[in-house]
Symmetry: C2
Subunit: 249 residues, 2 copies
Amino acid sequence: MTYAVGMRLDRGLVFMSDTRTNAGVDNISTFKKMFNWTVEGERSITLLAAGNLATTQATVSLLEERTKAPEDRSPSILEAPTMFRVAQRVAETLKDVIERHSRSGQEADSSFHATLILGGQIKGGPSRLFLIYPEGNFIEAGDDTPFFQIGETKYGRPILVRAYDAKMSFPETVKLLLVSFDSTIKANLSVGAPLDLLLYEEDSLTSGTRSRFEVDDVYFRTISEGWSDALKSALSKLPDYNVTPDSSD
Amino acid sequence: MTYAVGMRLDRGLVFMSDTRTNAGVDNISTFKKMFNWTVEGERSITLLAAGNLATTQATVSLLEERTKAPEDRSPSILEAPTMFRVAQRVAETLKDVIERHSRSGQEADSSFHATLILGGQIKGGPSRLFLIYPEGNFIEAGDDTPFFQIGETKYGRPILVRAYDAKMSFPETVKLLLVSFDSTIKANLSVGAPLDLLLYEEDSLTSGTRSRFEVDDVYFRTISEGWSDALKSALSKLPDYNVTPDSSD
C-alpha cells in the first residue's frame, strides 16, 4: 500500500508521500514514490505514485528516458506546452505500461494497476493538480476538491476535510499533512515512514523545497505525540452528552 | 454499508450503530441494526449487525423465535449460562443462515456475509464483548483491544484510537462516538443518521439507556459543527513546521 497527498493552496502546491512498499507483510521495502522534473525558470513537474511498484517504476522510467532522448517518437513531458498536455502524456504512458503487463498472458495475485497524482506549473500558466487513473483518464483539482489522496486514503481523510484551508501557510500545511499521515501509519502497517515532502511555491518555477521525515524525526515525533493530547483537549472542550433515557423498557 | 461500534469501559458497555442500508446509491432505506434481549435482573444482551440485510434480519429473527419457543431444539440465548455460550449460539446461527443462502444456488452481486458485535452480561459473570465473523468464529475484546468496529471502520478509527480511555464517563463516551460517526457520515454516503445508542451500566442487568439521534438532533449538530473548530484549534496549538530546504537542486 501507499499513502500520498497532493494539495493545491493559494501559495502553491504541496506533495507528501510515504515510502513503504510491500508484497505481503513479511516482505517490505523502502522506495521513493515522489518524482520531480524541473527546468529552472521554465517548468516544475511533480509525480506521486500508488499501486503496483513495477508499473509505477516503468512509467517513471519511460517518462525519464523521453526527457533525455528528445528524438523519441513519444514527446517528452519537458516539451509539452501546458500542464494539461503533460497530464495526457503521463496518463498515456501509465495506460500503456498497464496494458503491456496485462497482455503478457501472465497472471498475478495483485493487479498491475497504479494511480498517480501529478502537479506542477509551466511558465505562462497557473499551477495545476491532476489525479490520473489506471485507465488513462484523469481529473483536475479545483476549488471544491482542492486535494487528492491515493493509496490508503480513509484514515487520514477526516482531518484533511475538516482542517484544509486554501489560505494555509506551508508550515501549517506540513503540520496538517503529518497529522493525516500519522493517523494512517498508526492504522495500516503497509504505510510507513520515511515521508517525502515537496513544497512548490506558485510562480517560482523551481524544483521546490524538499525534505524527508525519518521515523525518528524530532518534528514528526512532536506532532505524533502532541496530537493525541491535542485531540483529547479538543474533545473535552465540546459539551458532554446529557444522558436521559428515551426508553427504558 | 454500515458503521457500528461496541465499546468496553470500566463503567459498562456502550453501543452505537447507524441505520442506513443501501442497494446502490439510488436505493437507500432506514433499518435498525441494534437489537437487545433483556431479562431484568438476570441478563442483558445487545447485538449490532453489519453486512447483508437479509442475513442479519434472518439471524435476529431466528434468535428471537428461539427466545419465545423454548421447546425448539436449538437452545435460546436467554438460557445460555454464560456470555461465551451466547456468543457461540449467535455465531452458529449466523453461520447457518449464510450457508443456507449460499447453498441455494443463487448468485448475488454482493455476498451474503455479515459481521456482528455482541455484548452483554449474565448474572454471576462480568460484561463481555465479542466480534463475530461470518465464518462463525469470534474474538473477545480485552484491555488491549477494548472496542470493536464493523462496516465502514476506517474514517472513524483514528479518533477512537487516540481518545479512548477505559475510565471515560458515559457522557464523554457518547461525545467521542458521535465525533467518530460524524467523520464517517461526512465521508461515506452509505452511512447515515439516525444513530442508535445503548448505554449498559455494569451489573445493572437491565436493557440499559437507549436513545436515537436524528439528523437534526441538537446535540449531534453541536458536536458535528463544533468539531471542525475544535480540530483547527487543536492543530494550531501544535508547533508549526520550520521550512528549511534539505536540497534545492
